[in-house]
Symmetry: C2
């Protein structure tokens, strides 16, 4: 359940590609202090959050995040041994990591700082809780250099 | 939704009072790394988590936590101006803070390190998501010196 203020401030990230149905993410940020952050991520069916990492900045460790699947299925790809037959194909663009982790509701995975990752929802879409250290989107490093983490706040009157 | 392993490891904290229905807490810990932590807290109707604080330890800032109410009502009391007519009464014991914050589903509050706090569920019980920095229960300081954060892991065969 969201407060009216939260519902009016759902973030929509299209990463600058203007192809939201394929590449993008919808987010509700519950809290983001200097030390910790919690969000809900909502993905459309087959929507992909593109490959990126959270680098160390000014000697401070980068963002660490745990993804816990709540609804649907999430196909998460991280650095490591490439999976021989990955379940999904990324959209056009630069994707380099292929170690597959499949998350069903109640399953989770922790991504340490600076580890490349991307994820795609299954055919039902997905809801994912993210528990992390402070979120500083402006420091995210995308593999595909066309991308940026520009956020558009959805207008609830649309 | 919980994994079978999580369901078999629900923590029951009675804080050493052996009076769980009145003073206690049930917890599922999703993740607790060096930097961040997420839990679900479940409270019986009118059950109270007793007054405590998370002190700074060895020059490191104490635990910061955000409580987000998911189900039921939570009556949270923190340092600050005492509320004239608090909604609930704590159980017998040492309770010193009376600044009331009422959380309904979708509402949340962030407790900074070293701030005394306690909370009680309303008549329907409550489910509360906790988003925080690392959880180190052994450092918690209880106002009532009889109390301790001894954890008993529920045996699913009971």
């Amino acid at each position: 359940m969201l407060t009216p203020e939260e519902a009016a401030n759902i973030e929509v990230a299209d990463f600058g590609l203007n192809d939201l149905e394929r590449t993008g993410l919808q987010l509700v940020v519950y809290v983001n202090t200097k030390r910790c952050c919690a969000k809900e991520l909502v993905l459309f069916p087959h929507q992909t959050c593109p490959e990126h990492r959270h680098p160390h900045v000014n000697g401070q460790p980068g963002k660490e995040e745990t993804f816990r699947c709540r609804m649907g299925t999430v196909y998460l790809y991280v650095e490591g041994e490439p999976t021989a037959m990955p379940a999904v194909t990324p959209p056009a663009g630069d994707y380099t990591v292929r170690h597959e982790i499949v998350l069903h509701p109640g399953e989770q995975y922790t991504i340490m700082p600076n580890v490349l990752h991307w994820f795609q929802a299954g055919p039902e879409g997905a809801v994912v809780s993210e528990f992390s250290t402070r979120s500083t989107d402006e420091h995210d490093v995308f593999t595909d250099k066309r991308l940026q983490r520009a956020t558009v706040v959805a207008d609830s009157k649309d």
